[in-house]
Symmetry: C2
């Protein structure tokens, strides 16, 4: 997905959100914000918003020396999600279509995010709302058919805490005889899942774990490790969680890719033709 003009003020606003939790010094905030704006002015806006975000967060990390400003929020998300996990498992076991319910739960987990929608969100409320709503785009039947033909799934994670929701879906996929490789970020970026979050949710018990090898938003291929790129190139089926991954991969062709996410901004909602806040399972 290309960067829309709307993304520019949004990226600056997100930069300010991160700056606010990265430093208490207002003159540093102002100085770094100006540097972010300068970068955006000089950047090529035909790149994806995820690529621009990656650089924006990179500038802030470098200048404030705060490697992981969302650490506490991620810990909170993990705690909350860990508590919910038994309930989610129960929902799946009681369901007539466990795989579909698990897919829905994985989408609901994507309500945990602190990027596009700012940091003041109520996770529990958001998750409940999503679980009660239908997919605005529902390619589940296509996914089911495709699953009959493949063995190996590459699962691109999004946020910390959401990992517990992903685990529910991964466990159903494993029950259906699939091998899952779960991809998290190589180092902290916003509240994206890293190896720490994998360990907390114990996903390594049910899936192979790799990282992107870097701290990109979404997937920025020229920053990723060769190991990840090889895995991606040879993947049979990809489940891509969240808006950052969607922004990065939505224009790719000839891929067996399923985007599973909550739509978190009006610009993407308009582009896809759904309401803001909708959940979608969309074949790429």
């Amino acid at each position: 997905m290309k960067t829309f003009l709307n993304c520019i003020p949004c990226l600056i606003r997100q930069a300010l959100d991160v700056l606010r939790i990265s430093t208490y010094d207002n003159s540093t905030r102002e100085q770094v914000l100006k540097e972010v704006i300068e970068y955006l002015l000089e950047e090529d806006w035909t790149k994806t918003p995820a690529e621009l975000s990656t650089r924006v967060y990179g500038i802030i990390k470098k200048r404030t020396k705060q490697i992981d400003p969302y650490k506490k929020l991620k810990e909170k998300s993990n705690k909350l999600a860990a508590k919910l996990y038994p309930q989610l498992k129960l929902m799946v076991s009681k369901s007539r279509n466990p795989l579909f319910t698990a897919t829905k739960i994985a989408a609901a987990g994507n309500a945990i995010d602190f990027g596009p929608q700012g940091i003041k969100i109520n996770i529990l409320k958001n998750v409940r709302e999503v679980l009660e709503s239908d997919f605005a785009i529902n390619d589940f039947e296509k996914l089911e058919r495709s699953l009959l033909e493949i063995k190996n799934i590459l699962y691109l994670a999004d946020n910390a805490g959401e990992t517990f929701f992903d685990k529910v879906l991964i466990e159903e996929l494993v029950k259906n005889g699939k091998n899952v490789t779960y991809v998290v970020k190589g180092s902290p970026i916003i509240n994206d899942a890293t190896l720490i979050d994998v360990a907390i949710a114990k996903i390594d018990k049910v899936a192979e774990i790799i990282t992107t090898g870097t701290d990109c938003c979404g997937i920025v291929f020229n920053e990723c490790s060769n190991k990840f790129k090889r895995k991606f190139e040879t993947s049979e089926l990809i489940i891509s969680k969240g808006q950052g991954n969607y922004e990065s991969l939505s224009d790719m062709e000839n891929r067996n890719i399923y985007f599973l996410l909550k739509i978190k901004c009006s610009t993407l909602a308009e582009e896809i033709g759904v309401e803001e806040g909708a959940i979608i399972l969309k074949k790429g």
Copy 2:
């Protein structure tokens, strides 16, 4: 009021809103947006947001050659407000405290705006909500006392359509023996009231009319006419409508000024210590 860091992405987003209705050409939008961002980068952020807005809108006007992009929206606001006017008058005549009710109505009219809150708002819904709520800051008693001591009021208008709501308050002030000078913008800026809107609401029948002599957001003194500045300097009591005027004048000292507005952004709400969306009548 100084410009907060939060104001910067908001100003860029507002610029995009105006660009979207000023030109259909996306490359012009991008080019002008970049020019706006360049200007903001070079500007002194200790100026007021109203000063920065004035320059931003100036750049857009100059580049797109669209002198009055909000013309249609203003016409719509005027039509809607004109229809409401008889109901508003009835509310005042039935009221136990007509001056207070009229003040409340004037505040409710400030719900008509297309700047900080974007252009997709439901005027009627907003106005009703405001009429049903209390002032979060209520200096009405101070205003009443001050009115006993003065004869002439300078009334700084904000938006088109809101003019009908202002007329309701002005008529009450006139009934109480006051002379009112109503100040509108010298030429179009966003949906701010100009002489056209005065004529539509027939405010010239109840008040003396002057303009700022320019198209500034709020009041930018070094752009205003000498006539306006003299009027302002010698005013006994000022009623200042809306956020733009508040941003411009809130730091002025030794003025008998009453700010009457709806708080349209979280940053100003936090600064003043009220909820976003609140209405206030605040002695300056």
